[in-house]
Amino acid sequence: MSARDDILATLGTAAPPSGAADALLADPVRPAVAGDLVATFFTALELPASGATHDRIADLADLPRAVAAYLDGHGLARAVYLPPDPRLTANGAADWSGFTLSPAIAPNEPTVLAVARLGIAETGSLVFETGPSAPMLPNFLGLHHIVVLPVAAVVAHLEDAALPGEQPRAHYWVTGVSGTTDIEGQYIRGAHGPRFLHVILVGED
């Protein structure tokens, strides 16, 4: 017998009673998220464990100015990696003159921009999916991770992040920066990837 048949024969493959799995999803036990979602999201985002900063702009036309302000604040050159996302790069979307835009991600890219699909108020997490205009690697390579998030995309709970239907190669949640406590339990930011996370919320409540 194949390993597969052996294992399944030992375990049996009878289906659970209908509705048993769904019953375990009903009324999920989770921290309450009350009040203003955006305010709660920012509170979670700025907890020491996450340690992110944020800014708000009215629309994407303001994005280059907000990015420039962040870079200036950190004494960084006006150079960023932009993913091939039409919302960032289409003609007329945002004017990046004055910036050096990296055509491809470099191993030691200082600053990376990305657009998140959702923000989660419960944990301050940012939700991303891979796709033709959304590479994954840059979000784990850059030292400064600047994430653009539409204000309407802030949801309450982790359960709200599930994507119905066909799944992308990767669906991932970023909660803060790359950190480690592997040497004597001391928390260090920027273990492999981003050491700084900056969220730019776009739009009015």
Binding site: S125, F140, R169, Y172, T175, S178, I183, G185, A191
Partner: protein, 464 residues
């Protein structure tokens, strides 16, 4: 009693003053942070009950969910393999690497990889291995095994890590600080990680509904190891299944809080199949190896509750024995209370009968377990089985048999107690510094001398 391999390792650990300092630095921080996280989640207790119910449901219907997962993962373009044993699992991984002509693999920390001996199998096959988790990198340089399932290098002090990095890194840290050491590892690991042919990970959860494999890391090293290479291989225990992402979410809330005290791990990723044709990045091929290695037997032999384990490490962080002897003394892949239950199941009771005895039964592990595994009960089960199978040494068997014979005869027992009190009090009043046949105790600490009369004697005199 003759010294066993375990008692020798434990003795060596107890005699190592640096080891205890290293363990305390990390474990006490973890204990404090978990405590704060639990207080911050009002319904933590209910969440534990729900999490245990989710795992029990999956373990009971494991075969069904495995088939569902296989179908969904295959539909998403992944190749699913099955392995009964550690050797079968390693062969599958090595064959994939060889067929692809892989020279180096980037590995994201996985206890399943350790359990099946993958680092060794890769070395035998001549395939270079880059451990990308900082702690795994440290122990790879030291040529050691993990001593904790969340902090594999818990047994190393920063001074020891510094020496290793200075010996092995091309551009080591100049400043003797922990941030500078972490920076040195970041510099050293980056290029190798990006150039690897294969990325290998474990799985924290396997989602039956979608065929997704979920990994969690705080460093982001899983993602850096699994996106650039052209092949992604997952080695996962069959008990990692959950019906849907919603079930995984409920377990994730407990996993992060119990392990590090965070509300969620920094990076939580669900991988479903290889890259899609038009995707900007990702591997061309994804293989998933589903590994039994004793789990179906555990379910059949009264250890189903152990299959709830989500590998958070809270039980060991709170264990008085682990905090004294560290992870290596346990001898297996998994240390601490969960390891003392798992290792006899994975590696045989005869070789590991000391592990269930290396426990005070104080119940702390069960109290902090996010999925309410009755660890003390399972440990007692191993003790009873060891007795039934005659694995205890003759001296222990005879001693306990003699004690039981006396204990069943109250008058004789009380006479023996009187004699023992008389004898012991000749060696000290208050505290006894040395006592014949009790050197194992008095070598390290004084023994409290018994009261002049036993409880039963005073009770008989009418004292209340």
């Amino acid at each position: 009693m003759s010294a066993t391999a375990f008692t020798k390792r434990a003795d060596a650990a107890l005699a190592d003053p640096i080891l205890k300092v290293a363990i305390e630095r990390t474990a006490s921080t973890a204990e404090t942070k978990r405590g704060i996280a639990v207080k911050g989640f009002a319904h933590f207790e209910e969440a534990r009950t729900r999490a245990a119910a989710i795992k029990d449901h999956v373990v009971e219907h494991l075969g069904f969910y495995l088939e569902q997962f296989e179908a969904a993962a295959t539909a998403a373009g992944a190749q699913v393999h099955w392995a009964r044993t550690a050797d079968e699992a390693c062969s599958i991984v090595i064959d994939i690497c060889k067929a692809a002509g892989a020279k180096t693999v980037a590995r994201s920390k996985s206890m399943m990889g350790e359990e099946i001996g993958l680092p060794h199998a890769l070395a035998e096959a001549g395939i270079g291995r880059i451990e990308t988790d900082l702690a795994e990198h440290i122990i790879q340089l030291a040529d050691e095994r993990p001593s904790h399932i969340v902090w594999p290098a818990m047994h190393k002090t920063s001074e020891q890590v510094s020496a290793l990095f200075k010996q092995h890194h091309l551009e080591p840290h100049a400043e003797e600080t922990i941030p500078a050491m972490a920076e040195s590892a970041r510099r050293h690991l980056r290029d190798g990680m990006l150039a690897a042919d294969v990325g290998i990970s474990g799985a924290n959860f396997l989602v039956a509904e979608s065929g997704a494999v979920c990994t969690v890391t705080n460093e982001g090293n899983a993602e850096l190891s699994l996106v650039p290479p052209r092949i992604h291989i997952v080695t996962a225990g069959i008990e990692k299944l959950v019906p849907s992402m919603g079930h995984a979410v409920q377990l994730l809330r407990l996993l992060a809080r119990s392990a590090t005290g965070a509300t969620l791990t920094q990076y939580t990723t669900f991988y479903t199949g290889p890259k899609r044709a038009a995707d900007a990045d990702g591997p061309d091929v994804m293989h998933i190896v589903l590994i039994d290695n004793g789990r179906s037997a555990m379910r059949a032999e009264g250890l189903a509750e152990m299959l709830r384990c989500i590998r958070c490490g809270a039980c060991m962080n709170h264990c008085v024995v682990f905090r004294q002897i560290g992870g290596h003394a346990y001898g297996g892949t998994y240390p601490g209370p969960m390891g003392a239950v798992l290792t006899p199941a994975l590696d045989g009771l005869a070789k590991n009968r000391d592990l269930p005895n290396a426990c005070t039964l104080n119940g702390k592990c069960q109290e902090v377990c996010p999925v309410k595994i009755p660890l003390p009960t399972l440990l007692r089960g191993w003790r009873e089985r060891s007795w039934r199978e005659g694995l205890e040494p003759v001296s222990v068997r005879q001693g306990i048999t003699a004690w039981a014979w006396v204990a069943q005869r109250p008058r004789l027992y009380r006479a023996a107690v009187r004699a023992a009190i008389f004898g012991m009090r000749r060696f000290g009043r208050g505290w006894i510094r040395t006592l014949p046949m009790a050197g194992g105790w008095t070598a390290h600490r004084d023994l409290p001398a018994p009261a002049a009369e036993s409880f039963m004697a005073r009770y008989a005199k009418g004292e209340r």
